[in-house]
């Protein structure tokens, strides 16, 4: 029960952050929004890291450089997310985001990209994605 609560709050805050960022963008522009929100996130995360003493700087060297670059995508993710929200609203933005997110993860797994293990396609996954697309179509009728 507690786990469900955390998951619901986490998901709600993810959407809330998109909406808040979209609002902030109107005040100071997209790139400043992306810059300051990640800066404050970084600072708070640093503090937590210090408090938990869970830092392993050496571990950064054990990972191939490619796997260190994911963070840089954050700039473009925030840009795309807030711009999409401006154009098509939150519901449709989140719906498309989730479909392409699950879809791309599915393709990544299917072909074993990024040193992952190749996984077979399951019918349930195709049906799931199909249902999500159908849901978006229904949203558009309304």
């Amino acid at each position: 029960m507690k786990g469900i609560f955390f998951a619901i709050i986490g998901g709600g805050c993810l959407t809330l952050q998109g909406v808040a960022n979209s609002h902030i963008t109107q005040g100071i522009g997209t790139w400043k929004t992306a810059t300051i929100t990640q800066l404050t996130g970084f600072i708070v995360s640093c503090i937590i890291l210090m408090l938990t003493r869970d830092y392993h700087l050496g571990s950064l060297k054990q990972v191939k450089p490619l796997f260190l670059t994911g963070g840089a995508l954050g700039a473009i993710i925030i840009f795309s997310n807030v711009t999409a929200i401006h154009h098509i609203g939150v519901t449709l933005t989140v719906a498309l985001l989730l479909i392409s997110q699950l879809g791309f993860t599915f393709i990544t797994d299917r072909f074993g990209w990024f040193e992952g293990k190749k996984q077979e396609v399951r019918l349930s996954q195709l049906i799931g994605i199909g249902m999500m697309v159908l849901g978006v179509a229904i949203l558009q009728i309304a």
Binding site: A34, V94, S100
Partner: protein, 150 residues
């Protein structure tokens, strides 16, 4: 319209890519080291792009309001919630609920017109659309296979 649709899809692809890349780092460095690194790099990238796009005007913080700084803290709060959720429920269930909550709250925020959003009137058809999407998420996710990282 079409730009919004394309950017929504682009965001999802990049989130997926970021999750895949970060999961490798996470396995070696732990959650908070990874989160700190990822946000730090995201900050740097945004700063550089912003400076290139806007020039010195980028450093002008005139229209800044205090609460703008706190949106970023939400991101860290999300990470803690996900850690707890995954710890208590396992990745598959936790992430399915997170995705469900994301789309559910999206419909709520659109209907309320929160944060200066253009209010998009609530419709039963919209609720039906969201419920079909949520069912799709569970059909996709609950196929008995685990993928820890996303």
């Amino acid at each position: 319209m079409i730009i919004g649709l394309l950017l929504g899809c682009l965001a999802g692809i990049l989130v997926s890519l970021q999750n895949t890349l970060n999961s490798k780092l996470n396995a070696h460095a732990g959650t908070w080291m990874t989160t700190t690194w990822v946000l730090g790099l995201g900050f740097l990238a945004s700063f550089v792009i912003g400076f290139i796009v806007e020039g010195t005007n980028f450093l002008n913080l005139r229209n800044m309001e205090i609460w703008y700084w706190f949106s970023g803290v939400l991101g860290v709060f999300v990470v803690s919630c996900l850690m707890q959720g995954i710890h208590l429920l396992g990745a598959t269930y936790a992430i399915s609920i997170v995705l469900t909550s994301q789309i559910g709250f999206a419909l709520l925020f659109d209907s309320l017109g929160l944060f200066g959003l253009e209010k998009i009137p609530f419709h039963n058809t919209k609720l039906l659309g969201v419920l079909v999407i949520i069912s799709g998420i569970f059909v996709f996710k609950l196929d008995g296979r685990q993928r820890i990282e996303d």
